[in-house]
């Protein structure tokens, strides 16, 4: 099979990453700060890759991704805290409800042109946040207590599934349909592609994984508050995708890793962090709008051009 070589490379790489982190954690060489950082990085990668599908692949500009993160975080927290469901089930429920939210927002708004969609998603995320503020059942502004359930293993499994599903989707006729919408929506339509269907599908899949990330996120802290899911959170996710290269999955992964580490170092100086982030964003847009990798993948850099035939 043609695609099987990169696939096995990915599986081996994933197994190595998992094994190394697990070894260091179990042997106690990795202190709690660093193992937490690794979990945060993984959650951010899930968020970055899920938004990458919407913006990078399908070309739909969503800036309300934190809204779906919030839905997943709160719904899964309700599932474990109020209904005492197992965590794994709560993750799935968080993802499914976030995907439903994605459908509700996506179906009416995805027929709009790019900038309207941006505003609509932003408005949706704000509505979610205001709702959470005003619902006493989930603690209102004070937030909601959540038990710490997130472990490296659950996080890793979610991360692995996210990347696998999104890259499988992308490398299929369905993914090509999404890319064709990004490239030229009118031509995609004229080639027989149901553009609304694929935009909504990509949006719902992206929302699903944002919800999964939300479940991991809420059970990684001891408390969640509506304030954690404001516009700045959406912006953080957006910058992963944009810096990595719109259309590059590995680019989103790399920039999520790097930026999470940089953020951790700048934690004491939140204003400086925001100034650096926004400056970098503007400068990248002005001088390298395609981002770090453009639409290429990191694996392309190691490929030499085959003389003839398949690869």
């Amino acid at each position: 099979m043609k695609k099987s070589k990169p696939f096995w490379a990915f599986v081996i790489l994933a197994a190595v990453v998992y094994g190394v982190v697990q070894f260091f954690t179990v042997s106690g060489l990795l202190n709690i700060y660093y193992s937490n950082l690794i979990i945060t990085i993984s959650i951010n990668i899930i968020l970055a890759v899920s938004l990458h599908l919407v913006i990078g692949i399908t070309g739909q500009f969503s800036i309300g991704h934190a809204g779906f993160l919030a839905v997943g975080a709160y719904i899964s927290a309700i599932a474990t805290m109020k209904f005492e469901l197992p965590f794994v089930l709560a993750i799935v429920i968080g993802g499914v409800v976030a995907a439903l939210a994605g459908l509700i927002v996506g179906i009416p708004t995805l027929r709009l042109r790019g900038d309207y969609l941006a505003i609509a998603t932003l408005g949706f995320a704000e509505i979610i946040r205001i709702m959470l503020f005003n619902i006493d059942y989930v603690g209102g502004a004070a937030g909601m207590q959540v038990t710490h359930f997130t472990t490296w293993t659950t996080t890793f499994v979610c991360l692995f599934i996210t990347i696998l599903v999104i890259s499988n989707f992308t490398n299929s006729r369905h993914g090509r349909a999404c890319i064709s919408i990004r490239e030229n929506e009118i031509a995609a339509d004229a080639m027989g592609i149901n553009t609304t269907f694929y935009k909504v599908a990509a949006f719902a899949i992206g929302s699903f994984f944002a919800g999964v990330a939300g479940a991991l996120y809420s059970h990684n802290f001891y408390i969640i508050q509506p304030g954690n899911f404001g516009f700045l959170k959406s912006f953080d996710i957006l910058i992963f995708v944009v810096l990595g290269g719109l259309g590059s999955l590995s680019g989103s992964v790399i920039s999520a890793i790097l930026l999470t580490i940089i953020s951790a170092f700048l934690q004491q100086y939140p204003e400086t962090r925001m100034i650096i982030y926004s400056l970098v964003l503007v400068i990248v847009m002005l001088y390298r709008p395609q981002g770090l990798l453009g639409t290429r993948e990191i694996t392309d850099l190691f490929k030499w051009k085959p003389a003839k035939g398949g690869h």
């Binding site: 913006i55 070309g59 500009f61 800036i63 009416p108 708004t109 709009l112 042109r113 790019g114 900038d115 309207y116 941006a118 505003i119 609509a120 932003l122 408005g123 949706f124 704000e126 509505i127 205001i130 709702m131 503020f133 005003n134 009118i186 516009f231 912006f235 957006l238 944009v242 719109l246 204003e271 400086t272 925001m274 100034i275 982030y277 926004s278 400056l279 964003l281 503007v282 847009m285 002005l286 709008p289």
Partner: protein, 292 residues
């Protein structure tokens, strides 16, 4: 008769939204960019007005004019530094840049002067209850309303009666054709930013006088709501921005008066989603379809 005061409050708040929305709508009309940094120009305007009043001891009108002038220059700088290069870039690149500029201004402001709020003195404009048709009305609201109306009349005059206004309308209809007809497109776009930013600056001062408290992140929510107002009125349409702003202000006043003040901020976004579903072109907007 409390409802009349509520209505006036709503209209006053709405007129602030309208002043900000005008900048959004003019800039969108001319370069098709949602200038996210516009709400932050409003914030900067509020601070300039504050320093002019408390630092230099100026009155309301001199402070208003200084703030407007400063913001006009500031807006042009933003356009020249960040947006000008992006005229031929993708929509996404332009939007991301605008978001980046917005955050840069907000956190730059925090970096310069800290995040603590300031309070406008409450005696900048006369603040007493006047009796109108037997109803008690706050003079401040009326004052603000009048200021906004005068500014909008001036804007109408500029857009419809001056050469620059004609150039603005021409560029927003067809940039290439306008260029061929000898219109200096760069100058016209800068002028549009100057006017829009000046109005945002004025809105900042008016907001400060009316609500007293100002802080570096104050522009975010009014900025977004003003954008909603612009979409509601039909983006690109100047009367649309005015009407949209007033409607939004009144709706918020009604929501608050009905006892749902915590949900007030959600109202704007629900209106936005509804308008996008029902009539994306807005009240005064024209339906346009991409050319095939």
């Amino acid at each position: 008769m409390d409802w009349l005061q509520q209505l006036i409050n709503g209209i006053s708040l709405g007129s602030i939204y309208a002043l900000i929305a005008l900048g959004y709508t003019m800039v969108y009309g001319i370069i098709k960019l949602i200038n996210f940094a516009h709400g932050d120009v409003f914030m900067v305007g509020a601070f300039i007005g504050f320093y002019a009043i408390t630092g230099w001891g100026l009155g309301f009108f001199p402070a208003l004019i200084i703030s407007m002038a400063f913001c006009a220059v500031f807006g042009v700088l933003i356009e020249r530094i960040a947006y000008k290069r992006l005229r031929n870039a993708t929509r996404i690149a332009a939007l991301i840049t605008a978001i980046g500029m917005s955050l840069l201004i907000e956190y730059g402001m925090i970096f310069i002067r800290g995040a603590q709020p300031e309070a406008y003195p409450d005696d900048v404009v006369p603040n007493k209850a006047i009796s109108l048709f037997g109803v008690q009305i706050n003079s401040q609201s009326l004052f603000i309303l009048l200021t906004s109306i005068v500014l909008m009349i001036i804007l109408q005059f500029i857009v419809h009666r001056t050469k620059m206004g004609k150039a603005m309308r021409a560029v927003s209809l067809d940039m290439d054709a306008a260029r061929l007809m000898g219109i200096n497109v760069d100058k016209t776009i800068s002028f549009t930013f100057a006017i829009g930013s000046a109005l945002a600056g004025a809105a900042g001062v008016v907001f400060g006088v009316y609500y007293t408290k100002i802080e570096p992140l104050m522009g975010v929510i009014p900025g977004l709501k003003a954008f909603v107002a612009a979409v509601l009125g039909g983006i690109g349409s100047i009367p649309g921005a005015m009407v949209g702003g007033i409607i939004l202000g009144v709706v918020e006043a009604i929501v608050s008066a009905a006892g749902f003040s915590l949900w007030r901020d959600a109202a704007a976004f629900i209106i936005l989603i509804l308008i996008l579903i029902l009539k994306p072109s807005g009240i005064f907007g024209k339906n346009t379809k991409e050319k095939v």
